[in-house]
Amino acid sequence: MQPQSIALLQRIDTDVEQILQKFEHIFEVARNQDKRKELLAVESLTIESDALTIIRFCEDLLSISRAVKETWCLGTLKVDANDDKMMSQKDVNKVFEKLNNLTDHISKFQEKSELSTV
């Protein structure tokens, strides 16, 4: 596997892990048992910051998907198997004939007599 894809997979893993952790933490902190006022204040703020972190990680997941698509579209090289095939002699001859006909058509002039009868 390419190092880039490994890094992307790792990023996905850490993001998901962080999201779950923060979510769990919100519930942990939400309990309200004989805590002092200061702690309660801090905890309620922690809940909000955790929520923001979760949102940020979700956005990060989206950007990962974008990066994957970008690598997929730009990093790959399309190779058409038919491109490599040399033109067969038959085809060459066909084009040759056609081009010769075309050139003949172009290089011949309209009969002068035809025009002057106008």
Partner: protein, 582 residues
């Protein structure tokens, strides 16, 4: 602070009793008459008001007032001398004494306060030393440091007694109430946050999907994509290389464009970039039109015109059509550029360039290759309706179309050649070739037309000669080999006819009826690298008899010469045949 004398005490004279004599207040008894009279005038307004009885009465009253209210200025002035003299003496001793004593007591207080503070600071430092020794060390006094080991003092928080349970319980109730309220608030807030974020992210996902679908569409159209930056806001973007820069074109416009994402809908739009400094450009689309004007009864009349046939609707998405359109017009632009490049070298051969027109004059016909601005709304220009009024005015339409196809084909051929050069291992020669390539488009076109004309002319000359000498000479063979250079098999390059100079041969074998001599005449019509010049190689061999001729023995080479002119060769042939006949 007190030691270095930086301490200041401000004195307010009122604090030391109203009896204190200010040195600036003048002693009224010692005033001169000049000072006294204005003063009396200010106080009494006029001497008319001052009478002896009045004054006496006032003095009697004034004594009472003075005793009651010493702060009254008027009464003070009027008070008796003894009164005035007694009071200052008492007061003059009092203020200095009180001041001194108060100053001393203040100093004492300050000193003790300083002492207390430094002690308490020392205590705090000692207390702190248990937790943060380094911080405490810098603040603790040297005396304490010497006598008490650092960190020897500790403290603990006292837990409120159970006796205060009731108030505590109340506190706790309110606390938990406040706490749950806070948390409820936070939870509500984050619920909203999550909801908003999910809506936002959903929208973004939709946008992304639309964007990548379109990018994928472009990709599936076999376009070359690359990473770039949008010149407008320098944001990251995906570009598409729609031009022929990688396919062998040496045109200055490499055909780069940006696929810009619409931030609101996620739709992708196509914007061509100019080759200079990657700026956006508005492309003016131009296409090539071929016209043929023929000389009819002394006038040049339009007898053919190519039409513009591309509708740009091969795909059902606008984006792909846009790319195709840009590519088509880029090719046309490239073609016209290469044509003008080539036409420059052909100016000596009746080819002229006027603004955006290349005019080729040949054999009573004018071929005009014109670069026309594309206007999709103007169908008249595109389909030239008005031109097809009668049969003669459209007689060459097909030929024009064929010429256009030929020009396009030859540019492709040139691209292919360039590409092959690029793929070769670089050597000095191939590098030179690469930087000096020039297309073969107009020259083969013109060359082939001319060659065909030359063939006709040559045929005419030979026919005339044969007619003239048919009594004296028997013509054994009269062959015409057109484009003998193309007869080699197998064909390597299908464009051979247009990239090699044409070679045609006339073969004549004459038999003199009188002496049975044989004359073999080979005429080779060809041209040089410019394709337009006429080169005729003449080779004449004479044999004494039929046997020699058949065995190709004892032939005498009569002439081996090249011509550039039909008149010369006509004369030469005439002379040779005449010579042969006689």
């Amino acid at each position: 602070m007190t030691e270095n004398g930086g301490f200041r005490i401000e004195l307010d004279p009122d604090n030391y009793g109203s009896g204190y004599k200010d040195p600036f207040i003048q002693d009224e008894d010692k005033l001169s008459l000049a000072d006294l009279i204005p003063r009396i005038l200010i106080e009494r307004k006029s001497f008319l008001n001052v009478t002896e009885d009045n004054l006496r009465e006032e003095i009697e009253n004034g004594e009472h007032i003075h005793n009651e209210d010493q702060s009254d200025a008027v009464s003070r002035i009027d008070s008796t001398e003894s009164d005035i003299n007694e009071q200052p003496q008492q007061q003059q001793e009092n203020p200095t004494e009180t001041f001194q004593s108060q100053k001393i007591s203040l100093q004492k207080n300050i000193n003790s306060a300083v002492n207390e503070t430094s002690l308490s600071l020392d205590f705090v430092s000692l207390l702190l030393s248990a937790v943060k020794p380094s911080l405490a060390k810098s603040t603790i006094s040297p005396h304490l440091q010497k006598n008490v080991p650092i960190g020897s003092l500790n403290s603990d928080r006292l837990i409120p007694n159970d006796e205060e349970d009731e108030t505590n319980q109340n506190n706790k109730d309110t606390l938990s109430g406040v706490g749950s309220a806070w948390k409820l608030q936070s939870l509500n807030k984050i619920t909203n946050l999550f909801r908003d974020a999910s809506i936002n992210l959903n929208e973004q996902v939709l946008k992304e999907r639309r964007y990548w679908n379109m990018i994928n569409l472009v990709l599936s159209n076999d376009e070359a994509l690359f990473k770039t930056r949008d010149p407008i806001n320098n944001a990251r973007a995906i570009g598409v290389k729609y031009g022929y820069g990688d396919s062998g074109s040496s045109f200055h416009d490499r055909g780069l464009a940006i696929l810009r994402k619409d931030n609101i809908s996620g739709e992708v739009s196509f914007h061509p970039l100019s080759n200079i400094s990657n700026k956006l450009t508005e492309k003016s689309f131009k296409f090539i039109r071929v016209k043929i004007l023929s000389e009819i009864d002394g006038d040049f009349m339009l007898t053919g015109q190519s039409t513009f046939e591309n509708e740009f609707n091969s795909s059902n998405t606008k984006l792909i059509n846009d790319i195709e359109k840009a590519r088509y017009f880029l090719f046309e632009e490239d073609l016209f550029y290469q044509l003008t490049r080539e036409a420059k070298t052909l100016i000596n051969y009746n080819v002229s360039i006027i603004s955006n027109k290349i005019i080729i004059e040949i054999n009573h016909e004018i071929i005009e290759i014109e670069s026309v601005t594309y206007d999709e709304n103007n169908e008249d220009i595109l389909n030239n309706y008005y031109q097809n009024i009668n049969t003669y005015s459209s007689i060459n339409n097909k030929k024009c179309q064929l010429i256009l196809i030929y020009l396009n084909l030859m540019l492709c051929c040139y691209f292919k050649y360039n590409l092959k050069l690029k793929q070769k291992i670089p050597t000095a020669l191939s590098k030179f070739k690469r930087s000096n390539t020039h297309p073969l488009i107009l020259r083969p076109l013109l060359g082939n037309i001319r060659h065909e004309l030359n063939l006709c002319n040559m045929q005419e000359i030979i026919d005339n000669l044969l007619k003239r000498f048919k009594d004296e000479i028997e013509f054994k063979v009269n062959e015409v080999g057109k484009f003998v250079n193309l007869n080699k098999k197998p064909v390597e390059n299908p464009f051979q006819k247009s990239i090699e100079k044409p070679v045609s041969e006339f073969k004549l074998i004459l038999n003199n009826k009188k002496n049975n001599n044989y004359l073999k005449i080979d005429v080779q019509l060809t041209t040089n690298e410019i394709f337009v010049n006429l080169i005729i190689n003449l080779n004449i061999i004479r044999y004494k008899n039929a046997q020699d001729f058949n065995n190709n023995l004892n032939g005498v080479n009569v002439l081996q010469i090249s011509f550039n002119d039909f008149n010369e060769i006509e004369e030469c042939l005439e002379w040779t045949i005449l010579n042969f006949v006689n």
